[in-house]
Each structure stands twice: as structure tokens, then as C-alpha cells.
């Protein structure tokens, strides 16, 4: 085993011991992830993966980060730091689990709260195991506000506090939370589950230290950070240098309806460093769509990992190759306490999409045409007519991905920041909640036409069986095409009370009154197309039509593939039509709807 001493160079582990320790330490956050997944309550967690874990050394360098929701773990370090500072590092003891719901400290909306366990070895603080999860209902003005204008309306503010003190559960806190929650059992259950889960990360670290010694552990963590940084920089260096700028907008902030909010992002690749700068984006907004800086950082870090590849060593090392600039007081760095209940579902999703889309000119073979850049969901709080209990559910849905050079986009996948999430089966949903899913279908022609077609969007239709309130979160873009491909024809849509006199087509809304028998439909956009549609392989278009991915009409008008009255391919007409289309050279910008 390598001897460790105080100077940095001598502390360096021999490469073999380093490889051994790295294998052990890398999975410590995954340990937290899997334990929590098995015991948490609420579908938004066990199906929706609305949590993330990370493990840090005593100086808050992240050396292991979990695979649940990257935005939950991506900037957990700032939040752990704030929590530890508030409580005081000298007041920490083995067996403590810290908690706060203060968004000013943890950088997300109120219920996305952190749990942190200091890790002690022989009385010495050697690291932290942390988990951030959507803990449940903390008594916000409604169960998931889209119209709140301050974080005081977004749930019980718990200052930094110990849920467990030296291994003893803080029963008073549990009682306080129960008393302030619409779902006391589930919320309190998650508090205990989270504490049990962080123990798993702690145990892994302690096993490594017991086996290899504290010095080796300290050196290994340092080595992991350096190693992660090296790999990240090598891969960034392969991207052509340049400042890649893109603009986008959100249709409104949920309060000032109809007033668009400007977003902007410049991604600069300078040698082996990447800078994400959101300068040019709007000032912080009144409604709950602000993105606390921690979430901005997490979105940029997520994008970095996506860019350099998930096979690169995860954790704090790679983040050293990234700089994030967001002017204070802007939507991406609001002054606390802003209303922020929807941060991670819109401004961050959009930032991730902007970073990819901005890099399309730099990486034409790797960046696909855009997707809807939205996180459409069905959310409702209903009273179960049988049990009389409140029933909260959040149901994700998927959009189509854009086509990419060489391949069609996939249909109906959960937005990238939720990747890993599974939608709940109708059979499970209907056992648990007073709701029926009537439809889950792909939408014909929803993918942008192209040599490589955009994936299809999906339609989901629900009927509510209890009374309550629902909400809508949709604010997607209409994906455009790349390299001569066409844009997708629509953006995400939410229809409440479809087919009735009171039918509503909504973007964002909360407090939508729902009665048993009411219905809601979510329709999602397909992805943008890549390459001119008239260049698409005719056999592929025939298959698309046979399977209803593309209508005959679209096959003819967009792809130039013409069928005769018997449904057989008309070769001559097809050739003629395709050369017309080639000549007309459809303007991809004009094709955006």
C-alpha cells in the first residue's frame, strides 16, 4: 500500500492502488441511489427518479455522483456547503443526518430538499454522503404551484436542522412535517428513507477506509478529481474552438400571461475549457420559473457530461473544465428568495437544449435536430372517492427526438434531463389513483420530415375519477430541422375538458378544478428532421406509411413518394415529385410552425 505524506506529489498513490480504490469509491453514490429507490414513497420518486445522490470528501469535492436525476445531484455541493456552514462543522457528529428545505440555501424549489450525513472515521470528518429528493408535500399554497410569487408560498421552510442526531430520529421534526403536509405519511416516510439511503454511501466510504487506510482514501479522491479533469479536458479539446450563441424564449412566467421571456446562451469552447454564459437572458421573473444558480450550474454540468460522454469519469474533476456565468438578478441567477417551484422543469430543460443546439455547427455529426425542450407532465391532486384520501400523482410523458446524421430520432422518450425515468403503467396507475388512462398513442406525422426523420410525439388521454385540482406545465418549442430537414409541425399541447363547451388549451396553469368524469389530453411534439426529406430512402417512406408514422399525404407532399390508387408505389410520379422538391429546396426556416 502506498505511503501518504503531506506534500501533494508524494501523496500521489501508485497507479495500481489508485485503480483499486477508484473501483470501490466510484459506486458509493449509486449505493445511495438504489437503496432510496427501493424504499421511498411517491411515484414521482420511485418511478419519476426525482432525486439524486453524491458523495464528497471533507472539502466537498464530489468523487461519486448517482445516476438518478442529474440535475438533482449536479450542484449538490453548494447546497451541502451551505447546510454544513449553517449548522457549523464543529457541531457535526457521527450518525447525524442534516436537512433543510430553505431554497435560499439548497438552490432548488422548497420540497427538493437535501439530506446530508457527515462521514466520520475514528472521530475525524472524512466526507459527506448526500441525497436530494422531492421529499413530498410541505404544504405549499397548492400541491405544486405554477402561480406562486414567493418561496413562502412554496412550502414549509425548515432551516438547517438534524433529522437524525447521533443516530436518534428527531421525532419533533417528523411531527412538524406531518402537521404541515397534505401527505403526512408519504412525506415523513421519505425523510426516513432518505436518511437510510445516505447511510449506504457512508458505509461504502468507511469500508474503503478500513481496508486501505485514510491516507490512501484521501489520495485516491484527489487522484479521481485530477483524472476526471484530464479526461474532460482531452475531450473538450476535440471540439472546434469558438463562441456558439443561441437565443430562445419561454412564452410567459405563469403570472404575466402572454409576456414572453427571453433566454440566451453562449457556449464558448476555448481549448480544453468550456464556458456557458447566460448573459442576455431576461431579468428574474415574478412567476415561479426562476432558476436558482445551483440549478443553472447543474444544467451546465449535465450538458458537459453529455458532451464528453457518460463513460468519462463522473464527479467534480470534470467540472473543473467548466465555467458558468449567469448575471446576478437574472432568471438564471435570481436573488433569493424568488419563486422557483418550476425551475428544473423549464428554465433548466431549456438551458440544456440551448447548449446542445448551440453546438450544432461545431459538431454537425453528433448534434441531432432539436426536440421539444419541454417537460410535459400531468399533475393532479384528487380525493380518492373510495378512501377519501388525497391522491397526488405526476405523470411524465415523452416527446420525439430529432433526427441525426445517419439515423431517425426515437419516438416518445421522456425529456433528456429525466432520462432513466419510466412512465407508470396504466395498470399500476389505476390501482393507485382515481384516474383512467384511455390512450397512449404515437401521433402520425408529428416527426419533422427529413432524410433522417424526427421521432414521433405521443398523445395521452386521462379521465379523472375523483374531484380535485390539476395543473399544466407545458411550454415547449416547435423543434426546427437541421441540414435541410424540416421542423416538427407542432409543439407540446395540453387540452383540459376536451370536446366539451369548456374545453381549454393550456400552457401553464395551476388550480384547474377537476371533477370526476373530466378529461385531460397531453399531446407532445415530435423531433426535428435532419437532411432534405426528398433524399429519404423510398423503402423507408413506404414502411413509414405502412405503419402510420407518416401519412400518405405527407409522404407525397414532403417526401415526394407517390402511391397509386391501390396503395402501390408509383415510381415515375415519385421520381418526378422528388426532383421538383429538390428544385424547390424547401426553406427549413419557413417550415417551422
Amino acid at each position: 500500500m502506498a505511503e501518504a505524506s503531506n506534500t501533494k506529489d508524494e501523496r500521489k498513490l501508485d497507479p495500481v492502488t489508485f485503480a483499486v480504490l477508484r473501483s470501490g469509491l466510484t459506486s458509493s453514490a449509486a449505493d445511495i441511489h438504489w437503496v432510496f429507490k427501493r424504499i421511498c414513497t411517491l411515484p414521482i420518486l420511485y418511478e419519476g427518479n426525482d432525486y439524486g445522490a453524491a458523495v464528497y470528501d471533507s472539502r466537498l469535492n464530489c468523487f461519486s455522483s448517482s445516476a438518478a436525476a442529474p440535475l438533482f445531484s449536479g450542484a449538490l455541493d453548494d447546497c451541502v456547503r451551505a447546510l454544513v456552514e449553517e449548522i457549523g462543522v464543529d457541531s457535526l457528529s457521527p450518525g447525524d443526518v442534516l436537512f433543510t428545505s430553505d431554497p435560499g440555501l439548497h438552490g432548488c424549489h422548497t420540497p427538493d430538499a437535501p439530506f446530508v450525513e457527515p462521514i466520520f472515521h475514528d472521530g475525524e470528518l472524512v466526507g459527506y454522503a448526500a441525497l436530494r429528493c422531492h421529499v413530498g408535500d410541505l404544504g405549499a399554497i397548492n400541491f405544486y404551484p405554477t402561480t406562486s410569487t414567493s418561496s413562502y408560498q412554496e412550502g414549509l421552510m425548515v432551516p438547517p436542522i438534524k433529522v437524525y442526531r447521533e443516530g436518534e430520529l428527531n421525532e419533533d421534526l417528523i411531527r412538524l412535517v406531518r402537521a404541515n403536509s397534505r401527505m403526512p405519511m408519504e412525506t415523513a416516510g421519505n425523510l426516513m428513507a432518505a436518511a437510510a439511503a445516505v447511510h449506504a454511501g457512508r458505509d461504502r466510504v468507511l469500508r474503503v477506509i478500513r481496508e486501505y487506510g485514510l491516507d490512501a482514501y484521501v489520495s485516491a479522491v484527489e487522484g479521481m478529481l485530477d483524472h476526471g479533469e484530464t479526461v474532460a479536458r482531452q475531450r473538450l479539446a476535440d471540439i472546434p474552438d469558438g463562441a456558439y450563441r443561441i437565443e430562445d424564449s419561454i412564452s410567459d412566467d405563469g403570472v404575466n400571461i402572454g409576456e414572453p421571456i427571453k433566454l440566451a446562451c453562449t457556449v464558448t469552447i476555448d481549448g480544453s475549457t468550456m464556458t456557458v454564459d447566460t448573459t442576455g437572458s431576461a431579468e428574474q421573473v415574478e412567476g415561479p420559473y426562476n432558476c436558482p444558480f445551483g440549478s443553472t450550474l447543474a444544467a451546465a454540468r449535465y450538458s458537459l457530461t453529455k458532451l464528453i460522454g457518460a463513460d468519462a469519469p463522473s464527479g467534480g474533476g470534470q467540472y473543473r473544465a467548466l465555467e458558468v456565468v449567469a448575471p446576478r438578478g437574472s432568471i438564471y441567477n435570481p436573488i433569493i428568495p424568488p419563486a422557483a417551484s418550476w425551475n428544473s422543469y423549464l428554465a433548466t430543460v431549456r438551458l440544456c437544449a440551448m447548449i446542445s443546439n448551440a453546438l450544432a455547427p461545431a459538431l454537425p455529426d453528433r448534434v441531432p435536430a432539436p426536440h421539444a425542450a419541454d417537460y410535459p407532465m400531468l399533475l393532479a391532486m384528487l380525493e380518492d372517492p373510495k378512501t377519501r384520501r388525497p391522491s397526488f400523482f405526476a405523470m411524465d410523458t415523452g416527446t420525439g427526438l430529432g433526427g441525426i446524421k445517419g439515423a431517425d430520432g426515437a419516438s416518445a422518450l421522456v425529456n433528456e434531463i429525466g432520462a432513466g425515468v419510466e412512465i407508470t403503467p396504466a395498470e399500476v396507475l389505476e390501482v393507485r389513483h382515481p384516474v383512467l388512462r384511455h390512450r397512449l398513442e404515437l401521433v402520425t406525422d408529428s416527426g419533422g420530415a427529413g432524410e433522417f426523420r424526427g421521432g414521433l410525439g405521443a398523445v395521452m388521454e386521462y379521465e379523472f375519477l375523483g374531484n380535485g385540482i390539476g395543473m399544466s406545465t407545458s411550454d415547449g418549442i416547435a423543434p426546427w430541422g437541421l441540414a435541410g430537414g424540416l421542423g416538427a409541425p407542432g409543439r407540446d399541447e395540453v387540452i383540459v375538458y376536451p370536446g366539451t363547451d369548456k374545453e381549454l388549451r393550456l400552457g401553464k396553469a395551476s388550480d384547474i378544478p377537476l371533477s370526476a368524469g373530466d378529461r385531460q389530453i397531453l399531446i407532445t411534439a415530435g423531433g426535428g428532421g435532419y437532411g432534405p426529406p426528398w433524399r429519404r430512402d423510398v423503402e423507408k417512406v413506404i414502411w413509414d406509411v405502412k405503419n402510420g408514422y407518416v401519412s400518405r399525404h405527407a409522404a407525397e407532399t414532403l417526401y415526394g413518394v407517390v402511391f397509386d390508387a391501390d396503395g402501390e408505389l408509383d415510381r415515375e410520379a415519385t421520381e418526378a415529385k422528388r426532383s421538383d422538391l429538390e428544385g424547390a429546396a424547401l426553406d427549413p426556416v419557413a417550415a417551422q410552425v
Binding site: 483499486v20 473501483s23 418511478e47 401527505m183 457518460a310 453528433r366 405503419n547 402510420g548
Partner: protein, 678 residues
Amino acid sequence: MGQLAACDVGGTFTDLVVLDDTTGSVSFAKSPTVPERPADGVRNAIAKSSLSVSEAAAFLHGTTLGINTVLEGKGAKPGLLTTKGFRDILEIARMRWPKFLMHYAKPAALVPRYLCKEVTERLTAGGEELQPVDDDEVRRVVTELVSEGVEAIAVCLLHAYAHPQHETQVGEIIGAEFPDIAVTLSHEASREYREYERAVTTVIDATIKKRMSEYIDELDGWLRQENFAGGLFISRCDGGVMSAEAAQRRPVRTLISGPASGVMGCVQMSRWLELPNVIGIDMGGTSFEASVITGGEAVTTPSTEIHGYPLLVPVVELATIGAGGGSIAWIDSAGAMEIGPQSAGADPGPICYGRGGTEPTVTDAALVSGLLDPGRFLGGDMRLDHEAARRGIEEKIANPLGVSVAEAATGIFEVAEVKMAATLEEVTVKKGFDPRQFTILAYGGGGPLVACSLADRLSAPTVLVPPSPGTFSAWGALTLDVVHDFAATAVAPLDDLEHDELRNAFARLCEEADNELAREAVPRDRRSLLLSIDMRYDGQEHVLSVVVGDGLGGELDSLRLRQMFDERHNAAYGYTTADPIEVTAYRVRAVGALGKPRRSELEAADHGDEATPSARRRVTDFRGGDLRDYAIYDRALLKAGHRFTGPAIVEEATSTTVVPEAREVVVDRFGNLLITAR
């Protein structure tokens, strides 16, 4: 009972193991698998073996034909019928994809969209009929499918797992109008909820039915021609076998049966040696697999995934990582060493095989460290090239890292061990099992090489190495019993369930189970039923399964069930709550015991209990690079009662056992090596 034979058709080889029950001797034969005509491969293996078909009491058969049929698209052309609104269930799946990707290719849907049709009908979760089946529409869409050339139809309607009446109705219509079409109704394939997973399971069953059925008929016909008078049994993924007739009826249960035999071998050992808690580890050429046996039963899980497709059928739970002997050591772009996940597999295999492998592997590292004897690998059948392995490790790992070859070799081995230890923690610590209460049973060519070191890492007191670990899996196939699993999903608060309701829920399953065993002609005194119940705290999703006993005799009291669940939850996760508990499913495992191989006993040591090493070898110790003297024992010379201490290596034809200094070996009367901490 004469001879007992078990035959496993794998991707590359068809393996046959034959037990002569009068002498207790076990022999093995191997022949290349014939992918187009698998029965030929079986016949070839039999021809090379000591099996006399006419004297065999039973022929147990595992096959990968089912899964290959699916993956190669060689099954019947499938069509799917779903509830109206859900035709895209296979293609949409669960909308899940991996993280951090710009682009993703979904696994292809098993049925193309134009062959997925909808039926107007709807039941609720409670079984209430919102919309009756439109019979005419069923006839119409099935006619359309048939005119498209569909040969097999899978029917998966919402909530049929609990309320099969609509599916049955649709099945009757198809059966009456199109008797030649193979049909599987989803509730026949699985009684679990989750429509996407059940639909996939149903489609697979429907599409492989014809081919499996023909294959089994062919094999059975041939065996009977050879005057076989015993029973033909087909292996299942849940660690049992079933009659040929049952396999033809429900072929989806035959998928991925291979790995279960080794685990069931562990179950048999656990019962014989009265070691209720066993961790089975199997290290082969390409992967490392771990399983858990508690209370003498294998842990099973109600679903699994294969090649990206979910299967909603119970399987023996196995944690697998790609850290076998063939796992490749490499240096990444930033100069750090990593092991796997790439593997050199069996072909070209490690460098030391001399078959063209150029990348250093875990086996190469074991050889260079001195753990393996180049001249005795596979009983001397294959001479390992020590020098080539050393050179490979030197060039690819040691030089770039600036360390000695010995350090590199031990390091490769140790990283592989850390990954294996993490896998063992996954199946024990993280599921609430304390490894200190477990014995590690090591098999496969590589299992005994790493077993003691893993036991030390997990603080497991004892390691058990059975005779001939390399053929233990094949032997395990001889121990299989007839098994049928029955389940009923029925979500309800535990507090609301009266004793009678619980009893009735199980009584229905027990009756079905008993009928199935009767149908399989299992005599009454050889039948047993194992009851378990899935529970969770209200609000949780994942369940813990609690065994409630054998048969209906046990007390089915909700208070007692609550107590059992709380105990399991507390053991697993360290807390309980006073919140309500929800029951989600009832399970019955019906077992029809088949004859077991006799245990052959080893001759006792006559001159004291001290074993004599056959040689000594210099081995590079871990983490130091120092050479140490290891005593080498020839397993063939060990007798019952022999004992010796580490550092030692036990060599035999199919495997090598490494015993570290701090452990002691005792040979028991059945020839097992029991290795305990000194």
C-alpha cells in the same frame, strides 16, 4: 433409479451430464451446438456420453432455443391485440432511455406497428366492465392480421392479470374462427400487472410456441424411438423443470434457464450440509455471477430483462457483472487503469490461451501472479503461455503505468475482486442480508480462485468449494425439481384483510398449483407448496416478499404478517414505520420433488489428518509484489478429514482454489473443501 441425464443447449456447446445412480458416478460429454437443428446437437452429445437412453429414468433438458428464436426473428410472425387506445404499447414502452445521450436507438418493437390492432373493450382495476368486448370487431381485426400473414397472436388487455374474462372471450373467438393460429392470452403468460412488460412476455410466448413445440416433439419422438421410458423435463427460468407438455403450453418459462442450474446446485448443497444461508459465486470466462440462498431456498424475482426486453416471469435472481477471467485490463486516455467491461471471452480469450488474444485479462494476471499453473490448466489439456501473458501485461499495463509486472498483475486481479465484492454486496448487504451469516459456495472455473479473498472482504466466515467446481453447474441441473409458480396481483391494505380473505387468496392459488402438479403426475407425497406474500409500506412501490410457510397450515394473521414485514424492512433498511402496510401479490411455488443424485462419499484419510502438499510454488502476494511460498495440493489426492492451512493452492482439473494465510481448509466426508478463518 438407473441413470439420470441433464442436457443444456448453450450458444456454443451442448453439455450433457449423466449420473449413474447405482455407482453415484457422474460423467460429462460436450458437443458443438447445432443452431439450425438443436436436437442433432443433443443426439451427438448423447452419442459421446455414457448415457444409455433406454435405462435413463429422467432426461432434464435446458435450451436457449426460445430466446434465440426471438432474437433471430425466427419465430411465428406475430400480431398483437390490445385494449383500444394502447396499440403502441410495444413501441412506446416505458419512455425510458439512458442518460447523457444526444441520440438513442430504442430496441425494436417485437411486433411492427401495422400488426398491432385494438379491441374496443375496457375493464377497471377492480374488474368493473366499462365497455364490453366488441366481438365483431375482434373477428374483423383478426381477419386483417391473418390476411397479413400473421401466424401467432398475443392478446394483452388492460387489467387481465386479475380479470381475465375479456381476454378469454377474445381467445375463444380467435380459437373458433382461426384454429391454426397460435394464441397466447396475457393472463396465461403472467398474472402480474404492468401492461407493457406483460405484452412483451405474451408476444414472446406466442411467437416461440410453434418452434418450441415442434422441437420438443422431435426430441421426445427420438428419445422414445431409442426406448426411453423415463420422463422428459424442460428447464425453467425459476430454477425448476416442467413436463414437455407444460413447456409446449407455456414456452416463455423456458427462457434463460441455463444459469439457474448452478444456483439450484447451491440450494441442494445448502440443504445437504444444513447451511441455510449461502452466497453462490460463479466465475467463468466472461462474467461473474452471484446468487443468494436463504432458509435453503433460492431468492427469485418476479421479473427480469433480457437483451433490452422485459420478461414478467419469475426467475432465479442472479447479479451479473462482466468481470470473468476474460475481462480486459486497459489504460484510459488519462493514464488510469480500468478492468472491463470489454471481455476477450473464450475466443480469442486471454493472451495466455495462445489463440490470438492480445489484450491482458484477469486470467493472464492470475497466471503471472503465480496463482495458476500453466501446465495444469483444464487438467493439463491446455498449456498456458506464461511468457506471452507476462509480456502482454508488461507492454500494455506495467510500462505505461511505470510499475513492475508483478504489481500490475496483482493490481488487475485486485480491481476485478473489488468489482466482484461490490456485486456480492448488492445481493446481500443492500437487500438486508448480513454476509457474516453466509457461506460462500464457489464454483465455475474461476470461483474458487477468488472466493476466499471475497469472503474476507465481506466478512463471510466460511468458503465451500464442492468437488469439481468447473462442472458444478451441470451437476446442479441433475438436482432440479418440477416447479410451477403461481401469482395473483391484488393490491389491498393489510389491515383490511381478514384471516379468511388471506386464506382464500392463497387457497385459490394452492388449488391451481396442486392441480398442475397432479397434471404433471407428481405423486402426492412428493408435492410441496411454498407460500409467500409481497408487501410494502403504503406509498412505497418496491415490495419485500415474506415467506409465510409451507401450504395453508400456517397462521395467516395480518398482525403476524405485519410483524414479519417490519422485521424484514428493519433488517434491510434499518427502520420501520407505524404506517399502514399494503399487500400487492400472493405467490405460491409448487414443487414436485424428483429423485436426487446420491452423495458419493470420499475415502477417509488413513494416516492422521495432515495433507501432504504435492509441490510448492512462488506466488506474488497482493498489494506488495513480494513473492511468497504457497503449498500446492492436488485435490485428487485429498481424503476426507484432511486439513491444512494457507497460504496454499488446491489444483484440480477444472479449477484452482486459493487459500490465503489466515484460513484453514478441512476436507469433509463428501469431498467438499470447507475453508474457515483461523
